[in-house]
Symmetry: C2
């Protein structure tokens, strides 16, 4: 890009949008190494932290639409990273369970994503990275509650 207008350069939403685009690109490219996508990482992380869950719960936790969860679970199941089994206690639901290979995959993706963070925040010191993370967390939490 070539000398963006000051009106844009001064708008937090524009800066965030630009930074998001870079981060998006970095993470997507890194994950492509393992034939994974961003949503895959999110879902695997949620399963690892909270244990087996229904697709709707996964969607709510990761901020992914139910319809999109279906596609992600399809792909991850096809790769053997998770199991999808009907819930006996509530037959509307599927119980999604992380497999052993899924856990290994998460470990690989975690390394890739973490390294992308370093690339993204390259110009910032460790202190500044913490500042940025803290400020953004406040913003995100604030808009997550309603």
């Amino acid at each position: 890009m070539d000398n963006p207008p000051a009106r844009l350069r001064g708008k937090p939403s524009w800066l965030i949008s630009q930074a998001s685009a870079y981060g998006h690109r970095l993470v997507t490219e890194a994950l492509a190494t393992e034939n994974a996508r961003r949503y895959h990482y999110s879902i695997l992380a949620a399963l690892d932290e909270f244990g087996p869950a229904s697709q709707a719960t996964l969607g709510r936790r990761c901020g992914i639409d139910r319809s999109d969860v279906v596609a992600m679970v399809n792909e991850l199941a096809a790769q053997g990273h998770l199991d999808r089994t009907p819930d006996d206690a509530d037959r509307r639901r599927n119980v999604i369970t992380l497999t052993a290979t899924g856990r290994q995959q998460l470990t690989r993706l975690e390394a890739l994503v973490t390294s992308a963070q370093h690339t993204l925040l390259d110009p910032l010191s460790a202190d500044e990275r913490r500042q940025l993370t803290g400020l953004l967390s406040r913003v995100v939490e604030h808009h997550g509650l309603p």
Copy 2:
């Protein structure tokens, strides 16, 4: 959203992505009030700050693809916010010029976008907003050069 995994909550790229989604939504909704879209604001801002320019130049300045600039200029021209005239000095080019009504439109959009910034950064103090803007500017500038 409902208790996102710690692995996500700690990743700057995820936080930025979430914040970007909120900002995107806020700005888009605000601009819809005037039947405008985000790219419209960018292009009007570039024209206001740097004066008349070719479509390719506008695209480079705002980080918009040439093909997408065509559509935006079509829409803005249809609304009378800018003029598209062939460049006599270089007949490959169109010279895009902001009209009086375009300048008024930019003023309206500016107010809408600015107000959306306040909503987005609601939980932060004025100092913290400046911090955030500064940190993000460093990140964006760093990745803009190569």
